[in-house]
Amino acid sequence: MSSWLDYTINGLIVGNVYALVAVGLALIFGVSRLINFAQGSIYLVGAYIGWVAVVQLHTPLPLTIIVVAVAAALVGLIIERFGLRPLQNSVRIAPLLATIGISFVLDQLVMLTFSPNPRALPSQLPDVRFQIGGGTIGPLDLLIAGVGITSALLLFVFLRYSKLGWAIRATAQDRDAAMQMGVDVNRVNQAVFGIAAALGGISGLLVGMYYNQIDTAMSLQATLKGVVAEVVGGAGNVPGAVIGSLLLGLVESYGVAVFGTSYRNLFAFLLLVVVLVLRPNGLFASARQAPPEPLTGTFIAPSRPVRIPRWALLIATAVFAILPLLPVSFYVLQTLINASLLGMLALSLTLVAGTIGQVSLGHAALLAIGAYTSALLSLTFSVPVGLAIIGGGLMSAALGTALISPSFRLRGHYVSIATLAIGEIVSLVILNWESVTRGPIGISGIPPLSLFGYELVSPISIYWFSFIAMVVLALLQGRLLGSHLGRSFRAIRDDDIAARAYGLSLNRYKSLAFIFGGFAAGVSGGIAAHLYSYINHETFNTQQSILALTVVILGGLGNVVGAIVGAVALVGLPEVFRIAAEYRILIYGIVLLLLVRFRPQGLLGTM
């Protein structure tokens, strides 16, 4: 029995830690309806500034906190001014992508400045422990709890009773109306970003001290857990974010208690999906609250797509088809093979995200399902590789659609968060379902690609294989978009209420889109499995999902040719920047930001 007390206390302690990040995320979401993927990076920056202050400058703790808060707030203001404000009149998805780009840039800057080696960030509080239950808590636990709860309370009071707070809430409710009433919306946004960034920085500092460890990989994890906690509490709801964080901590802790450590994150993400499905506005959304997303689909604004004449497409296809016959190195071919594989994933995502408006952040899960299915079919049941890949596509279509179907009632950002969670769940199931997936050991010795009994092992034949697969899928998708199905998809994206009024069954069309998209992604994963010969749960990770979304937005949402162009660009750019060695991901992030800034509708425009 006493163990349960310990698990409860531990859950609350770690929930406490999540709350610090979640509060900042909630504040930003509340005002600008934006999931700030750069929040984890600000947390990282705060931790390293704290390290400089503590270890190099020997500042006392109160001063350290102030230094970190001010510096992080400055970073937040810079992000708002130069990264996000220029995008405020463009499509709503552009700022989301911009925050991803900003987080690349910030993480890389920290890594280049401080080297990727982890560092110790010693706590400046006395090392006394208080016995509670079977364990102990220290002064840092109390400080973290204090900062979390105080900041949530202060924010609550500030938002409710101060003039700027009113302005913030007015802006959150209706930006245009607030502007008409004379609210300086930019100043509001600045204030919000400054406060959120200061909080993010302090949380990085405190969490770093808590674990006596900071490293450059901590940013993505912080963002993920913060997003989960925030959404569980009700996106944009600051006190809700604190309670959501504590709940998340508890669920994880009990999950460990009952099933063991390796199931921990599984419970975190299951909690998220369950909450989203049952209470899409979060646990603590009030009934009076305006819907978190606009009723009509302004999430993805249509733009005029660039029309590419048919002959140009034909010539481009022909050039790429005969490329291996020209004196091109295998390295270039291999890069293009990667681009084709990413292109197929992007085709899938551009259909579900762009054409029907379900922006998925867990698309790598479809790759993983396709890859494991194809690998296991060919290894265990000796299915010919060509058929196994198709089997992978079908399994991905079926399982992917089944997994996502409970979230069909969600809109906008909530779809993204639900798919993010589903993606993590799939990866964790692969890790834990050892009897089938072989767990962390992974599957090795996957047979190479083959067709009609001939092994395709030369880069040239693999290139043709993946290129043809991509072109066929692209042609099919083009046909689909031109048919009445394509029109129905777009109608649902642009205005789902109007679409329903016209008698379109939303769930059926969403299912159709995911079935088709799941197939394309599954085929891509299947080919990858046979190309790599070894896969495990890390092969298809969250970074892949984010990359795929970047490709799709870059190419133009819903745009078939755009998806392929985007894939070639985003596989090619990091390769081109290889010359820059450690700097290449930084350059890549900056290029991405510039693209979002100057072509938010994507290179080829939304279809």
Partner: protein, 385 residues
């Protein structure tokens, strides 16, 4: 990039791209040019720290090799391509190296998914993939061009089990391990060996690499009532676990695998890692000359910093590569064959390293039983803690 000018390299790789599949054209590199090894590893991304440590080890070894006259008068150099330990990038790098006639063999990658995804390309392209941190049991099964000096966990874990059970006298163990291919394989070998020595395994817990909070895991450990904790961890997570174990009041003996052997473990763990036992392959006061050369050279080159296990792996790997190239020359196939011929290469990890031609791995890692005393790794004096 150690000792070739970046601009030359850029030009070179551009030229290699232009030259395309035509190998022969550039195959006759002048003898004044350095012999070039390709390295595929993480310089950015979540595993970037390990790539940085590789570089330190490589550069130190290269300094010594150059000082000793290089490879038959020619310099040895490497070209480090950042893969982020991502299979998509490591396969592209593999093609790049295979098509670049200047590259005589490849070292890396870091993680199993990235390394083993590239193996088929190296195997078909006939370029040796020398994976010196690849402990996955199937890595060298990728083909006869895959060689590894990574300590086989079948070798290492029984040593750790003997340390914990026979020497420290622990009878009931809790095993915490990274839930990766390495951690899982290690755990299985450890559990098997510990049971053979008569210990009971009270609980095993696998955690993912990003995990930072172990309090609830440690409650499970406490409830299993072990008399010792075994950490199959890297230094950063190992330090976290040790700290939190002490914070929640667990006072059991902690015994960790050699992968925590790093000054960072001491820095990150602080007082909590005092008295932690570590089974390692070498130790600072080790009288073996290769160890003393390595440690002294490393401290001199890097401002007094102590080397860690990953530095040592990289240092050994570069020395092994030099020994192989000395025998095999610059022909890729001859280099593959040289791996079967190379004998008793002096090595920090193995003492004298010779490949077992069957498994394409090196057997018989050295063993040192260390304990953290007063914030330093020291040879265990046999006294209980």
């Amino acid at each position: 990039m150690s000792n070739i000018d970046r601009r030359t390299l850029v030009k070179g790789s551009l030229a290699a791209m232009m030259a395309g599949a035509a190998f022969s054209r550039a195959a006759f590199a002048q003898s004044s040019e350095p012999i070039l090894l390709g390295v595929s590893g993480p310089l950015t991304g979540p595993n970037a720290q390990y790539g940085t440590q590789w570089k330190q080890g490589f550069d130190l070894a290269l300094d010594e090799i150059q000082a000793a006259g290089g490879i038959n008068g020619r310099k040895l150099a490497y070209s480090f391509e950042d893969s982020q330990s991502d299979p998509r990038q490591s396969v592209a790098i593999a093609q790049k190296f295979v098509s670049d006639p200047r590259i005589v063999m490849e070292l890396g990658d870091f993680s199993s998914p990235a390394s083993m995804a590239a193996s088929p390309i190296y195997q078909r392209g006939g370029l040796v993939q020398f994976g010196f941190t690849n402990s996955h049991p199937d890595f060298t099964k990728g083909g006869d061009f895959m060689w590894s000096t990574s300590v086989s966990q079948a070798d290492e874990q029984p040593l750790l089990a003997a340390y914990a059970v026979k020497r420290l006298g622990l009878k009931k163990l809790a095993v915490l391990h990274l839930n990766t291919d390495w951690g899982r394989t290690s755990r299985d070998y450890f559990v098997k060996a510990a049971k053979e020595h008569g210990a009971e395994i009270a609980v095993t817990e696998g955690y993912i690499a990003e995990e930072r909070d172990f309090r609830s895991t440690l409650v499970r450990v406490r409830d299993a009532n072990p008399d010792g904790l075994i950490l199959i961890s890297y230094y950063s997570d190992g330090a976290l676990i040790a700290r939190q174990a002490r914070q929640v009041g667990l006072k059991q003996v902690i015994c960790a695998a050699s992968s925590v052997y790093s000054p960072k473990f001491l820095e990150l763990g602080g007082e909590a890692v005092e008295d932690v036992h570590v089974g390692t392959r070498y130790f600072p006061e080790d009288p073996r000359p290769e160890v003393q050369t390595f440690i002294a050279g490393f401290k001199k080159k890097y401002n007094g910093v102590e080397p860690d296990a990953f530095n040592a792996y990289a240092y050994d790997a570069m020395n092994m590569a030099a020994a192989v190239v000395k025998i095999g020359g610059t022909d890729r196939r001859a280099i593959r064959d040289a791996f079967t011929k190379v004998k008793d290469v002096s090595s920090v990890i193995f003492g004298k390293a010779t490949f077992d031609v069957e498994s394409r791995r090196v057997k018989g890692a050295m063993n040192a039983e260390l304990v953290v005393r007063k914030g330093q790794f020291a040879l265990w004096d046999g006294k209980p803690t």
